[in-house]
């Protein structure tokens, strides 16, 4: 592997956005047939480096060597015709076009097509989908699809091309284990064909399972490069965040006996049936299961986004009306949705505004006037707690790196003091260091007596904070793992089974 020819090389790349130095003298060397992991904390410059290598952004300094030629800037079409394909972190698809047209778009551009054929696009899509064992209607509009399906479409689009270097910027954040498995198979097949694959992931297990070589970025600089054998979990984490971070189970023993959230045999036809559990003050309950098992829908129903047809949900003994978000909020439920980038954030608005959007009423005085000083202090505290990498709190959220955007949404809800805090996949796309920080905040919230419901398929995370873990399968609650039994092995075994 290590003596395969280099297909793409970046040398001394520098890039600044205003005052933010995103990349500083970064080097990257990609060899044919390798799976190369680009690792780094949120905001370390991974996506920026990828955009520079795909011609989307121009570097301030440095050179790029591809297919024997050296250049200071690639064009998008140039990079595509050199066989570079990217699955962008934000997917960069077209919501208003059909799945087939999305998949065919880059192929058409690269082939300099003038007349297009819908039939050909559909056939191309079906062929690629067959390879990935997928079944998505090629005639559906992209905006009708779930986030997971969109991610799959982006993957299809990339491999529909004649690809030599495939960049995948966190391609699995919304996928189920099944789909990740198929993606891994496709990756090995591409690799066997000599395709170089560069992927970004914050999941250490994924990194070790997939990669041949690893390049670690920290604050825009390359701090470690090497074959996967030269790293272990600890040294990788050390390189990523400059310190150790253990994922150990820390749960407090003082859970109150008083029930706070009572979910009594709720059903929604076709989604889930007869879900019952009770959560107590100060308790952190994990809700897991494969994606599509109904775990997200249960959370949606508790918050009133999806109506339930029978059963009841109550907070402190007060019933919540089915399908009524307002009554859930007034009962004291706060919800961090899974589709954060479309549901939880105002991308063009300032970071500070987004952060206080949910807690704004607590920052006003009795007359309803906002207190700017209190707001500023609240914002600074959150930025600090979440260690957000921001230029200025007044910059728009869209200028943040993907993981920092996620953290803004989470921070917005952590600033509130609800009775019940429901979080759907809160640490997806968040780096190890910040993940630990978020989990610690959850523990603190629980210690204040707040009930936390954590929906996640990140097993180590569940084990690290949850008192109990509930498993949903095919829309039913099939298992409850009590505190003394919560281990990584137990949760993994019972949720996949």
């Amino acid at each position: 592997m290590t003596d395969n020819p280099v297909v793409l090389r970046a040398r001394g790349i520098d890039k600044s956005y205003g005052g933010v130095h995103a990349l500083a003298d970064a080097d990257l060397e990609i060899r044919a047939g390798e799976v190369h992991c680009l690792a780094g904390a949120n905001g370390s410059g991974k996506s920026t480096l990828i955009k520079i290598l795909s011609g989307v952004e121009a570097p301030d300094r440095g050179e790029i060597e591809i297919a024997g030629t050296v250049t200071s800037k690639l064009s998008v079409v140039g990079s595509i015709s050199h066989g570079i394909q990217v699955i962008y972190q934000d997917l960069s698809l077209f919501p208003n076009l059909t799945v087939a047209e999305n998949v065919a778009m880059t192929t058409r551009v690269a082939g300099r097509a003038r007349i297009i054929s819908i039939t050909a696009a559909r056939e191309l899509t079906l062929t690629v989908m067959k390879r990935l064992e997928l079944d998505i209607d090629p005639d559906a509009l992209l905006e009708e699809l779930s986030v997971a399906q969109r991610q799959l479409v982006a993957i299809c689009r990339a491999i529909a091309n004649d690809v030599r270097v495939l960049f995948m910027d966190e391609p699995t954040t919304a996928l189920t284990w099944n789909e990740v498995g198929t993606l891994f198979q496709v990756v090995s097949a591409l690799k066997a064909d000599g395709v170089a694959i560069v992927f970004v992931s914050h999941k250490t297990e994924e990194v070790f399972a997939l990669s041949d070589r690893i390049t670690v970025l920290r604050n825009g600089k390359v701090v470690a490069v090497g074959g996967v054998a030269e790293f272990d979990r600890d040294s990788l984490v050390e390189a990523l965040i400059g310190r150790q971070e253990l994922e150990e189970r820390i749960v407090s023993s003082d859970v109150h006996d008083s029930p706070v959230l009572e979910v009594n045999s709720i059903s929604a036809p076709g989604l889930f049936a007869e879900i019952s559990f009770t959560a107590h003050a100060g308790e952190i309950i994990g809700l897991t299961g494969l994606m599509g098992s109904g775990r997200s829908e249960v959370a949606d129903a508790i918050f009133g986004i999806i109506p339930f047809t029978s059963g009841r949900v109550a907070v402190d003994g007060h019933d919540i009306r089915s399908g009524d978000v307002a009554s859930a909020i007034s009962a004291g439920i706060a919800y961090v949705p899974s589709d954060r980038l479309t549901q939880g954030i105002f991308l063009d608005q300032a970071i500070s505004r987004n952060l206080v959007a949910s807690s704004i009423s607590s920052l006003a005085n009795k007359l309803g006037w906002l207190r700017p000083k209190a707001i500023r202090a609240g914002v600074d505290k959150l930025i600090d707690e979440l260690s957000l990498k921001v230029g200025s709190p007044d910059d728009p959220v869209s200028s943040l790196s993907g993981g920092n955007q996620q953290r803004v949404v989470i921070g917005k809800w952590l600033a509130t003091n609800p009775r019940v805090l429901v979080l759907n996949g809160p640490t997806v796309g968040v780096d190890i260091g910040s993940k630990a920080a978020i989990l610690q905040i959850l523990r603190e919230k629980a210690a204040q007596g707040i009930t936390v419901l954590l929906i996640s398929d990140d097993v180590p995370e569940l084990v690290s904070v949850c008192h109990r873990v509930l498993v949903v399968r095919r829309g039913r609650l099939v298992d409850e793992i009590a505190s003394q039994n919560v281990t990584v092995e137990a949760v993994r075994e019972r949720s996949i089974a």
Binding site: V56, V76, V77, P95, L97, T106, R108, G292, E297, D300
Partner: protein, 342 residues
């Protein structure tokens, strides 16, 4: 996954059409039914001929506006461009003594295209917001027309041009249908094909839907914008000349002020104000619907100033229907996601 099993909702969605074309057709049918019920006399072949006549110019203008709205922009300069192109062509013809039936249409289209370059430079070059850019160019073009070309009313057109304007394709119920319907239909069909079947057409939708994604997919956003603003200019110029030929005189004060009607037709025809959506079929239905409404208002004896208000209401309705169907689409996405469970 159950997306491939076609549910009743799916068929309803197909009937409704991607851009609500089905809904529009339904509304037109309903309106005709109402007219037939309450005033049977009006529903005559002559009324269709009237509607066709009042739709020709609007349709030609709407085609250009459609291009720009699909790309995610908005154009308010097209009527100014139309009348500038047509009026100065007539002035030019008179001053050099040219008398021809076809050339003036081509000349007006060329002048329109040249004026479209102004918008292209502002939008693709200076990256101005399209509303601001076209508001500016509207002012420039109108000012230039009155200052440099003239402001006099020209009551008689060169004879070959006047003849084309009077030439009838056929008569329906005693009302004439102009031959100029033909080129407009040809342009509409041509544009429909370009939008559906060419990479250029699909790029316009791509840019309107997600400009940054378009750039990342290798689409030359600036170039596509340049071409559509020039094409829209050419279509406006041509439409201006059709207007002049049909009314039989040239006045620099006409057309300007009808932007609202044309934009309304495009928007209720399913082109989204947010971009990335819209079709020629939808626009045709939108134009006809508006013409039908205005025609009925006239027949009902509703004073003219109410017409503008009605057009405003129609725009709002169109936008509301769009917002509604956007919401429906995103709802469908949760249903699709949950179908995975079953």
């Amino acid at each position: 996954m159950s997306v491939l099993t076609r549910t009743p909702q799916f068929h309803i969605a197909r009937l409704r059409g991607r851009n609500n074309e089905g809904v529009l057709l339904g509304i037109i049918a309903l309106l005709l039914l109402l007219i037939a019920m309450f005033s049977p006399g009006t529903l005559s072949p002559a009324m269709f001929a009237d509607i066709l006549r009042s739709s020709v110019v609007n349709m030609a203008l709407a085609l250009g506006v459609l291009l720009i709205i699909i790309s995610g922009g908005i154009d308010v300069s097209f009527t100014a461009i139309a009348i500038f192109a047509a009026y100065s062509t007539v002035v030019l013809m008179r001053s050099i003594g040219l008398d021809n039936g076809i050339l003036p249409f081509l000349a007006a289209a060329v002048i329109g295209a040249l004026l479209g370059i102004i918008n292209a430079v502002l939008v693709a070059g200076f990256k101005l917001q399209t509303l601001i850019a076209t508001l500016g160019s509207q002012g420039i073009v109108r000012g230039a027309l009155l200052a440099f070309v003239g402001s006099v009313y020209i009551s008689s057109l060169p004879s070959a041009l006047a003849q084309i304007g009077d030439a009838r394709l056929t008569t329906i119920g005693g009302s004439a249908v102009s031959v100029l319907v033909i080129p407009v239909i040809l342009l509409a069909v041509g544009l429909a094909v370009v939008l559906r079947k060419t990479m250029f057409g699909r790029s316009i939708y791509a840019i309107g839907g997600a400009p940054e994604s378009a750039r990342r997919a290798g689409i030359r956003v600036g170039r596509v914008q340049t071409v559509i603003y020039i094409a829209a200019g050419a279509l406006s110029g041509f439409a201006g000349m059709v207007h002049v030929a049909l009314v039989g005189h040239a006045s620099p004060f006409e057309l300007v002020g009808t932007e609202l009607t044309v934009i309304a037709a495009v928007v209720i025809g399913g082109a989204s104000d947010a971009g990335g959506r819209g079709s020629v079929q939808g626009v045709a239905l939108g134009v006809v619907l508006l013409a039908l409404i205005q025609n009925s208002l006239v027949r009902l004896g509703v004073p003219g100033f109410w017409h503008t208000a009605v057009v405003g209401v129609v725009i709002l309705l169109g936008v509301a229907i769009q917002a509604q169907s956007r919401r429906r689409r995103s709802k469908r996405s949760t249903i699709l996601e949950s179908a995975v469970t079953a």
